[in-house]
Amino acid sequence: MRNVIPTRPVAISEHGALDQTAFWRRVHGLRAALASQPAQRVALVCEDSGWFAAGMLALAQTGRICVVPQAPQAGSITASGAHVGAVLTDRPGEFTEFTTLAIGDAPPAGDATASLPDDDVCIECYTSGSSGMPKCVLKAFGQLRREVAALEQQWGEQLGDALVLGTIPHYHLYGTLVRVLWPLLAGRTFVTHTCVQAAELRRWAAQHRCVIVSSPAFLQRIAAPAELPPAAQVAAVFSSGAPLADPFAERLQRDWGHAPIEIYGSTETGGVAWRVWSGSAERPYWRLLPGVQTELREEPAGMRLWVKSGFTWQSGWMATGDLARRHDDGRLVLLGRADDVVKLEDKRVSLSEMRTRLMAHAWVENVRLLLLAGPRRSIGAVVILNAAGRRQLAANGKLPTSRELRNWLRRSYEPVLLPRKWRFPEALPDNDMGKIEHANLQQLFARRA
């Protein structure tokens, strides 16, 4: 990617533009301020994405480990178990229990030369592990840079000089990469704050052609595509974090004229593959991102997808959490989580298959199934009832409702495999990426309901 200074501003906010010179002087100023700071591990917590980018580069350039907590709160730094020596932040008042470096205080310094960090310095980020404990993932700057290059190769031309806006926070690695580093390295301008309302997208798009970096959490909550900016003003929409449900992808394409580009990947592997709505028959097929190799390895549950690219966390082949098969033309078909198949009392059962059966019941709107530990391992069912189901629940109570669903499943399954615990919340607990977290589901079973 270019090392010359592009002419467009690095970032823009309601208060004005941050041009290249001002941005790099910020980075140099922060480097100077960090020189007197002994901490090797520094948490980076910024509200403003422009400062976040400057902070990340300054930390990386001074050989520090840039720790990006899962959420921008002091509690999140503590909970992650990341032992940090200091916090670099634009909100110093909120991190009083830490040594703080107030980011706005560093006077801009140095010349405006764009110098990028070495490829081997680390960004430490956190992702929700399957155990429910935050899992630490180390990313070298080179891995991020190579992933950005792959994105630019695939979509650079389509994006042109579009303004980059996002509904996902920049502290998620996907946000860091797509909303901040990609525009920074490719010379596009990004908006410095996370847009939480569709109206904000419309306001920016009224003045600029734009790229919207989003997730199912946002896209699936848009009541009508008319709330989004006019399609002609949008160069592309990216969605990641979880699969976008088919009806939403179809509706956006039909009623708005733009299907989001969905990216499949994880914090550990980086981006792996992508798809765009082009009819339901094409829906299962994912194309690999440039530079990504895949392999399928046999396991008791099925063929697990392994990935190798310049942007995986570990070098060499890395296991994903998913089962997959390869279509004749090389595209991938994802077949669900490898941990979807569980063994209960020596019998194997696929949770996604059981979920499909439950979804077919007239009272059911949505379902998540999970394996519960305990003296007797069993399946827990989190069921979102539809209007008819909720009426039943209100009229007859929980036991008759769960019994009905159990008996429904009993037509297809042996009794020992049936869910033993049932929860009927109003909505599934999803996080701000629209992902239903395993830990949040587990929590529903922590006490009796």
Binding site: L399, S402, N407, P415, V416, L418
Partner: protein
């Protein structure tokens, strides 16, 4: 006998970790397995262990009667009573 029936209902709920089920939900005459309470074969094993431990009765696994004894709470109570009196 009624006390025993109530005690057994409670034993079933606690030893099998049944959620949402109260003693009142268990009909003493209704089958414990299949359509009724919906217990499964692992529950049967665990309930057998719990009953033997609590009431010091002996279950002969090979006995064709065992199935009958565990058919319902009422049958189970009758069985325990008969063992106690011998």
């Amino acid at each position: 006998m009624n006390n025993l029936i109530e005690e057994l209902k409670q034993l079933i709920i606690t030893s099998l970790d049944l959620e949402d089920v109260t003693p009142a939900d268990i009909d003493p005459q209704a089958p414990l397995f299949g359509d009724g309470l919906g217990l499964d074969s692992i529950d049967a094993l665990e309930l057998g262990v719990a009953v033997q431990k609590k009431y010091h009765v002996k279950l002969d696994a090979s006995s064709a009667d065992t199935r009958q004894h565990f058919h319902s709470v009422a049958n189970l109570a009758k069985f325990i009573e008969s063992q106690r009196s011998t």
